[in-house]
């Protein structure tokens, strides 16, 4: 079984407000509500691709109930720890006229030491029948910054591969522990080990450095519609053009889901990267998060430009 860990899930609320500006009072022309958090998104997209996962992490209050309910209706296995407080809501205000997106992110509920201990005992129990652990997103208040290290260490002890998609201090700490896959979001990380991630050459240098720390697959976003991949077979760039793109929201998770499916089906590295990128593109073609189905992803494969950099 694949386990996804979302320590700080959210409800993503997307409000469409034409000509939005601060200080005004607006009627919302459309609102879209969906459960969020990287691990949960990966679980939902993998389900659309026909891959079973178990989602775990912390949930709280009414928002937590909502997230659980959506996962339950999607028939995804859950093992969340319900805590005091309220699962956060992330608000996105999309102005289709001015093409501006405004975002507001909450911190999330406070997690006590007891709750962390209880989570760890659930995690260790589920690891006994896990083939891959996907760790993603920010950490809620109370959870130590190096918590991903501990989760990676526990998985490694059982020789279970791990994938991390995070940013900032939690990601840097996790990289030291050597996860199998790491996705670095360059938008939230301007430098790595003193290298500014502002050019392709610098980005290649940074992913190679991460790779040399024992991370088998390093994925770093490059410009808006591309990713650089560093594997033991070489460094690759895959991109698509912006034609028809509505929202990149959730595309990072679609890429991860595609790569996981490709791994399960033992695709060649190139095919795996292209399939993952096609999933990311399919996700971006509509406002709704997630992909339509596998056939829709496969239709996007011809649009992916793939090249070997090194």
């Amino acid at each position: 079984m694949i386990v996804t860990v979302t320590l700080n899930p959210a409800i993503d609320e997307e409000y469409v407000v034409p000509e939005f500006r601060p200080g005004g009072w607006f009627r919302v022309s459309r609102v879209q509500r969906s459960p969020g958090g990287k691990g949960i998104n990966v679980s939902l997209i993998l389900k659309q691709l026909g891959v079973e996962t178990a989602a775990m992490g912390f949930l709280a209050g009414f928002s937590g109930e909502y997230v659980r309910d959506v996962l339950r209706k999607a028939q995804i296995t859950t093992n969340f720890l319900h805590v005091r407080g309220e699962t956060r809501t992330n608000v996105y205000i999309v102005d289709e006229v001015g093409k501006v997106e405004t975002g507001l992110a909450e911190l999330g509920p406070y997690i006590s030491e007891d709750e962390i201990a209880r989570f760890l005992s659930n995690y260790e129990r589920i690891l006994k029948r896990t083939e891959l652990v996907v760790l993603g997103g920010s950490l809620p208040p109370g959870v130590p910054q190096d918590f991903y290290c501990e989760l990676i260490r526990l998985a490694k002890q059982r020789e279970i591969p791990t994938l991390i998609d995070a940013a900032g201090a939690p990601l840097l700490a996790a990289l030291d522990e050597g996860p199998t896959y790491a996705k670095v979001d360059q938008r939230f990380m301007a430098t790595y080990e003193g290298v500014a991630l502002n050019s392709l050459d610098n980005l290649i240098e940074a992913v190679q450095r991460v790779h040399s720390h024992g991370v088998e697959w390093v994925i770093a976003s490059y410009r808006t519609y591309g990713n650089v991949f560093c594997t033991h077979e070489g460094v690759f760039l895959a991109e698509f053009d912006r034609k028809g793109i509505v929202s990149m929201f959730g595309s990072g998770e679609a890429l991860i889901a595609g790569l996981i499916l490709g791994g399960q089906e033992r695709m060649e590295t190139k095919d795996r990267i292209v399939f993952g990128m096609a999933a990311a593109l399919e996700n971006a073609l509509h406002v709704e998060k997630g992909i339509r189905d596998r056939a829709a992803v496969e239709r996007q494969i011809p649009r992916i430009r793939f090249e070997r950099l090194l």
């Binding site: 339950r72 859950t78 093992n79 319900h82 005091r84 005992s121 659930n122 260790e124 589920i126 006994k128």
Partner: protein, 152 residues
């Protein structure tokens, strides 16, 4: 229909060492009336419901009372509940449990739940917990099925 289509694939469970006060907290926080008890590998070894906890905290003579209305307050109950709060759930959990497999039919599950006066029961695969089945969810499903056009 197979029960895997109606079941709740939630793995929330207690361990045999969980204390009763912690179990009460988890039951309330998760808003459920009972939870499976599993070992380190996720194998179901028991089931604890709020009914079991109430029963354990009630004074021994309670069963013999014809009418408990003369009891002035829940003072004694509270005292006993706090006293057993540190006990592990293994002390009061039901060890002979009714469980189902994902392939069981919804009708078989419904009948078994009714016969055993159960609200919730674990669903297992090779003894490992894979979810729970709720009486209320089954009722809802049966209600909807009657309205489905295939019955017309």
């Amino acid at each position: 229909m197979r029960i895997c289509e109606v079941m709740d694939r939630d793995l929330t469970a207690l361990s045999a060492e969980t204390t009763l006060s912690e179990a009460i907290e988890i039951l309330t926080r998760h808003r459920v009336s009972g939870l499976p008890v599993v070992d380190g590998a996720g194998r179901v070894v028991g089931f604890v419901s709020e009914k079991d906890i109430v029963k354990a905290a009630l004074p021994g003579y309670f069963d013999y009372l014809q009418d408990p209305s003369f009891i002035p307050d829940y003072g004694q109950f509270q005292k006993r509940l706090k006293k057993i709060g540190k006990d592990p759930v293994s002390k009061i959990m039901a060890k002979e449990i009714v469980s189902f497999s994902e392939e069981d039919s919804d009708f078989y599950v419904a009948i078994t739940l009714i016969r055993n006066h159960l609200k919730r029961a674990p669903v297992v695969r090779d003894g490992i917990l894979v979810g729970v089945v709720n009486r209320a969810d089954l009722l809802e499903r049966i209600m909807l099925e009657e309205e489905s056009p295939s019955f017309a």
